[in-house]
């Protein structure tokens, strides 16, 4: 035996997808290794296939109506529960972010910001309707009001940088307004996404409301764009060529595609990131008329 043989062999984990409330391996059987900065193998993660994505959309569709029809108060509490569970697993996430290339300090900052982002949108859940909706003073005897409704089943494409906070920054507003989500995490640092799936599983998020994929963006974007049962797509900091692929989805079934651009430092700017204007692309406005009279 060589001298490098360890006394105890560590148990290496393969992080799985979070799909329909369960943790399946990718149906494709494909995995990729994750190494730390010293090139030690840390874990494996699943390389989601297009079929995994379609399954995730199916799960999201099944879950969306009941998620949207829960009270806003309850949705807020579930988002807050996610914050609680994330806060409780600080060490694990800090390590995961360091593996992804962060310094310990950067990891700590990102983690705290992610928790706070969930808290911020937990708070919005039972208030945004009052900001985004309104009563309209029509010039006739009608009672007329406009209310926000969720877009439906949404795809989120997280940026490579800020592997935890980037993902959470897209998920929190999407879930807040009652959408069901299929999210693709950072491609460069997938560990945070995989771990976050484990947080969601214990956060009272109903099965199928949130589905997390790790995988190859170039492979999956065309499928996101072409899927007819996706109502909206939200991304951040994608390259122009990637944005174009998704935009073509609008030409296919009029799915709403919104690209956020976060400049340097923007992701830590709570004034920018916690505003209810970020909810606008994730909702539809419904206007209801009824006559007034005896």
């Amino acid at each position: 035996m060589t001298s490098s043989t360890p006394e105890r062999l560590s148990v290496l984990k393969t992080y799985k997808l979070y799909l329909g409330g369960a943790y399946p391996r990718t149906e494709s059987g494909r995995t990729m290794p994750i190494h730390d900065a010293k090139d030690n193998l840390v874990a494996h993660f699943c390389l989601a296939s297009r079929k995994d994505f379609r399954n995730a959309v199916g799960a999201a569709r099944k879950a969306q109506d009941s998620w949207a029809s829960r009270t806003n108060y309850l949705r807020g509490q579930i988002l807050y529960r996610m914050a609680e569970m994330l806060e409780g697993r600080t060490d694990e996430f800090r390590q995961a972010l360091v593996v992804g290339g962060h310094t310990a300090r950067q990891a700590q900052q990102e983690l705290e910001a992610a928790v706070d982002r969930l808290v911020a949108f937990a708070g919005w859940a039972d208030k945004y309707s009052q900001i985004l909706g309104c009563h309209n003073p029509v010039a006739a005897p009608y009672y007329n009001f406009s209310v926000p409704e969720p877009s439906g089943v949404c795809v989120a494409v997280a940026p490579d940088e800020a592997p935890l906070l980037g993902l959470v920054s897209l998920l929190a507003p999407l879930l807040c307004v009652g959408n069901a989500v299929v999210a693709l995490g950072s491609q460069k640092a997938p560990l945070a996404t995989a771990l976050f799936g484990e947080v969601c599983g214990v956060s009272d998020v109903p099965a199928g409301v949130l589905n997390l994929l790790t995988g190859d963006r170039a492979e999956l974007l065309p499928e996101f764009s072409a899927h007819r049962d996706v109502d909206a797509i939200l991304t951040a900091n994608l390259r122009p060529a990637e944005r174009r692929i998704l935009d073509l989805g609008t030409a296919d079934n009029m799915k709403r595609v919104h690209h956020e651009k976060w400049g340097k430092g923007a992701i830590m700017d709570t004034g920018l990131m916690h505003g209810p204007d970020r909810l606008l692309p994730l909702i539809e406005i419904k206007t209801i008329w009824h006559p007034v009279g005896r």
Binding site: N136, Y142, S146, E149, A251, M254, W289, P291
Partner: protein, 492 residues
Amino acid sequence: MTPKTLNIEAPALDFGEHWEYAPAPEGTKVEIAARYGAFINGEFVKGHGRKRLTTVNPATEETLSEVLIANPKDIDDAVAAARAALPKWKRLKPQERAKYLFRIARRIQERARELAVLETLDNGKPIKESRDVDIPEAAKHFFYHAGWADKLDYVFPGRKARPVGVCAQIIPWNFPFLMAAWKIAPAIACGNTVVLKPAETTPLTALRLAEIFQEVGLPPGVVNIVPGDGTTGAALAAHPGCQKLAFTGSTAVGKELARVNAGTSKRLTLELGGKSPHIIFNDASLDAAVEGVVQGIFFNQGHVCCAGSRLFVQEDVLPEVQQLLRARLHNLRVGDPLDKNTDLGAINSASQLATIQHYLKLGVAEGASLQQIKTKLPKKGYWCAPTWFEGVQPAHVIAREEIFGPVLAVMSFRTPEEALTRANNTPYGLAAGIWSDKGARIFDIAAKLKAGVVWCNTYNRFDATSPFGGYKQSGFGREGGRHGLLPYLELS
């Protein structure tokens, strides 16, 4: 429920051939030039395009005018003028900007009669509608949005609002003047400048609006109007000098415009087609409901994107609704759009008439039962009698595709769940109607219908303060109200 006794075989107003309405024509003294060019940088110009389109009165097939088909060079000129006008316009003291819109609103009101007649001549819609709906609503749009110009920082809490830039706007032929107002008023109130392309068959009132812009001294280039056909629209939609594209029209064209602009940072608002459901529950006031159905599908000859073209009636009241509908339609008057008693005017164009007739044939071939009122249609012009189909199956093309004409598909349902499922079973989601006397049911159904506008115990109501726009393949973005400003603003 005990069925009510009906005696609709002898409607009160049926005097047979013995007592015809006397004609009540609106005066038609409206000046129309033999030729029109474009309105660019505050001037009417001949334009570079060599080709012209002929705009006709669809009720008589008489030529009204020959109008420029603006070519890409004209579009370049118009976009350049809008670009040049932008810095001053957006920096103008907001209340001064508002006052231009107030002035425009007033001039529209003052010239309302002329505009209504011109609209009816060019479009074929009844004068009753252009006089009472199109023109007054257009004036209201300018009046409403005028007041926003100096209040933009109140549009969204905690955010500063800035204009988007140069807006390309393409509008359809069904409400030519009103759509121009819907597009231009919010855009310029928010400090943007505009290049607007009116529809190929109805360019005249938009050009008349340009005259009003001159009258009120609107700074040159703030609004430019480029008439033309599909090639003009394509050049404008793809122009890289515009930061925003707002389009109202068919879903097919909307998708093409989305494709052309994919990967650009141009902002899009698309207001597209519909196949809107109209649901009558057995507890509804049936007389009012039938009136609403008639308003919903026969208003503007059914050339309405949110027309209530699919009628779902609860099974136990279906016979009664059908009888009432038949009786009501018997009293609809089809004919000379300039006659103040006309309910249904002319179909806007020969090609649209052909489309409608194609669907009528298809409906019969599919096995639905075609019902039409017997009415004398004028010999010249494009006409379609009010039509409804009974025995329609959900899979029938006439129950799925937008016909854009006075054609109603009548179907029945048993439970509210069935009504909802079938109402939502469409790629469209523009509007919907509900008729019921039960408040709780109305709001339950209204919340579950996937549509941008839900009319409860009414239909086809519009207002400048009320956001309008669709879900799903009926497009996105809203027009009117506070929400209608957002597509024309950058928030920061």
